[in-house]
Symmetry: D2
Subunit: 123 residues, 4 copies
């Protein structure tokens, strides 16, 4: 998954605004679903939500940079999944994030549907 840095992503410090790396990681997660023709949610009352995230900022990116996002599964449970996502600029690691996603149905953690598990298994 390649992501270009645009003006909107930078701030007056001249570099990518810190919360945007977290958006890039979400794009990569969604793209895994889209690549299999599946929406990352079903109906209005279910879907994945973020429970926790831990992020390390190792280097910066700026306008015009082409970044690459990788995603690995660290563990899966009935209703949650833990991912490790990394962002590289050329070959250099600039950002790493461990994120726990919980599947919610009608406001409550619920078993992740099989079709979503299958998509994660293909990451």
């Amino acid at each position: 998954m390649k992501i270009r840095v645009y003006y909107e992503d930078t701030d007056l410090g001249g570099i990518v605004y810190h919360s945007n790396y977290i958006k890039y990681c979400e794009r990569a997660r969604s793209e895994h679903f889209f690549a299999h023709g599946v929406m990352p949610r079903e109906g209005d009352s279910s879907g994945f939500v973020v429970r926790t995230l831990k992020a390390d900022y190792l280097a910066t990116a700026t306008l015009g940079d082409m970044l690459q996002v990788t995603t690995e599964i660290l563990s899966t449970k009935n209703s949650s999944i833990t991912l490790l996502q990394k962002i590289f600029k050329e070959k250099k690691l600039i950002f790493g994030m461990e994120i726990v996603l919980v599947y919610i149905e009608d406001g409550k953690p619920s078993r992740i549907p099989e079709k979503f598990k299958e998509i994660f298994a293909l990451i």
Copy 2:
């Protein structure tokens, strides 16, 4: 309606990214509704959408600036409303926008509900 400019609003040019002024105007429109304890939408299938907008960028704003947004009604029709919104930095006009909003129900332009008309009448 006062709006502070934060890091997230600026880009590496050192000033507010152009589409953010349009977001500030939307905040001001929503705030008129919130001020009367009313959500600017009803249910999942109805609400106002933007049909057209014309914007003039007259001067810039940057980190820490406190901006003021004003809203005037230019005209109202059954299913649409035309507003003039201005953004000031101190007393100086820095941005102006004329925007046409259409009320949509189940995907089609529909009569604006009375309670919404009343809110606009109070602007």
Copy 3:
């Protein structure tokens, strides 16, 4: 220039938030520069700023949609350029925008540098 719609682009109305189409158009403009290995700005005190824009919202887009942005030059002057940008969803036109950009140096409109004119000529 193809742009995927992600969660971050949508709002609780279920569709792309209106100011994001304007960001998509800016991405397309920047991409024309990046494609030729040129940054759309020089140093800290010069670059293009938006003077006016007129936008028409014709249809909506939502999560997972793949959009296409096109850019045409309507006219060029010494220090400004007028573009017509369109966004398509499959073959359907969903958004159109006429935008006037002014080249600024040290806060004043200035002659657009030749290397930037050449890039625009290749659009």
Copy 4:
């Protein structure tokens, strides 16, 4: 520090997009500086950058909610500071984040200027 949730902050899941809570916390940090008439950065080559953050998402917020952000200092070092920031919806804690900021000058971690330390001491 009070923050209203607007359309732009929500996604089609109907709630605030996850990375926006992190933006809210940054607004609160900047506001501490603005409140003392100080910009959170000096010149173009220095300022605070995020080194790490750990965030817990405990409950959701949606359009029109009025949130409150609190900031506490956990520890300070020569060139870095660790903060605990919390977001409340009415009295309910919905988000917590521990964040380490490093002061950078010309690309390298440097001693935090006294005037910035004084601002933090007043939090």
